[in-house]
């Protein structure tokens, strides 16, 4: 263990433990998934950074969205995100989730993923190298230290706006709201 971090461990052991055991669920929406197998296997070995892939969203606390997001996958992304336990961190991987990338005028691609779910960090590039994932992970550690990776808290606070945006993009959602939404927003059962 790094001796410089002993005070941090003593102050907030749960946070430190959480920070170094990121269980990632990879949402293989597009071409970004090509970069993920070398990252998690022997070539680059993400376990050096405490990142390990898991099978289901209920075991994960890091959500990597790799590649473009179509309308249909946005539905699955929201459902996956809402199933994850808190604290949970989201990282958009590649330029397509950031602002559409090369699909900036596509009829069916969601631009600006942060309008629908909160994002803690972006990895720009098309495609980013596997090293970029590790840089993102180390950045995420810093953000967790400073309590700036607070996407799940923002999601709870601004759930009404997020839910409204999700309904604007997907039409009526066929699952109940995760958090209570107030009456002034029409079209939802409480």
């Amino acid at each position: 263990m790094d001796r410089n971090q002993i005070t941090k461990w003593l102050k907030a052991p749960a946070k430190m433990a959480n920070k170094y055991s990121l269980h990632a669920i990879y949402f293989c929406t597009g071409c970004g998934i090509i970069e993920v197998p070398p990252v998690i296997t022997a070539r680059w070995d993400a376990e050096r950074f405490g990142v390990i892939p898991v099978a289901t969203p209920r075991q994960a606390n890091l959500f990597l969205i790799t590649g473009y997001v179509s309308v249909k996958t946005l539905r699955a992304i929201i459902r996956t995100y809402e199933q994850m336990y808190e604290p949970k961190y989201t990282v958009g991987f590649g330029s397509c989730p950031v602002n559409g990338g090369m699909y900036w005028d596509s009829y069916n691609t969601i631009k600006h993923l942060d309008k629908y779910i909160p994002i803690d960090g972006w990895i720009a590039g098309c495609m980013p190298r596997p090293e970029a994932i590790f840089i993102a992970v180390t950045h995420l550690w810093t953000l967790i230290d400073k309590e700036m990776a607070n996407g799940y808290i923002r999601y709870r606070e601004k759930y009404k706006s997020y839910r409204r945006n999700q309904e604007l993009a997907l039409g009526k959602l066929d699952w109940p709201p995760l958090y209570p939404v107030s009456d002034e927003h029409q079209g939802n059962e409480q």
Partner: protein, 171 residues
């Protein structure tokens, strides 16, 4: 072999144009009424695999073009080189005002998803197809999105760009 198939096709069907763009390719242009008969003829001739149906929107000519690509697993087409894989591209044009065509699922059952996709993206109606439900798209589009008069930029500006940002107020 290519030659004899060409002659056979030309003698059996009227109003048919056959070109051979390169080795192991035959392009057939036919009237839309003849297409089902030609497909059946080719299937009997050993072209048992429908590889693809695609559509093209020729907006200047005011028509849609349907392309059926057939190939065979069994025929040994080139006796000289022994190379297999003769592809037949069957093209037909249908008017843009009346995008109707007969289904080919009776001849090739695997045409079903292709026809659903073309129905969804080009708005071409396949008569007799028993499951023309949406395949890929979730949203409703006034104009099917693969038609040339569908303005994707305008659509994105009207729909996705109008959705406000949650975190950042100036976006």
């Amino acid at each position: 072999m290519n030659k004899s198939l060409k002659e056979k096709l030309e003698s059996t069907f009227k109003d048919i144009r056959i070109t051979i763009p390169e080795d192991s390719r035959i392009a057939v242009s036919a009237e839309s009424d003849n297409v089902l008969a030609i497909l059946r003829f080719l299937k009997d001739a050993g072209f048992d695999h429908l590889a693809l149906i695609s559509a093209v929107d020729w907006i200047e000519d005011d028509c849609f073009e349907l392309c059926f690509i057939l190939t065979s697993y069994e025929r040994d087409d080139d006796e000289v080189t022994g190379r297999q894989g003769l592809h037949i591209i069957l093209k037909t044009r249908i008017p843009r005002e009346k995008p109707q065509f007969k289904t080919t699922t009776g001849i090739f059952p695997n045409a079903e998803p292709y026809e659903r996709e073309i129905h969804e993206l080009f708005g071409i109606n396949f008569e007799g197809h028993n499951r023309l439900t949406p395949l890929l798209l979730e949203r409703d589009y006034k104009i099917p999105p693969f038609r040339k008069d569908f303005d994707t930029r305008k659509y994105v500006e009207e729909v996705f760009d109008k959705i406000p940002s949650v975190e950042n107020k100036d976006k």
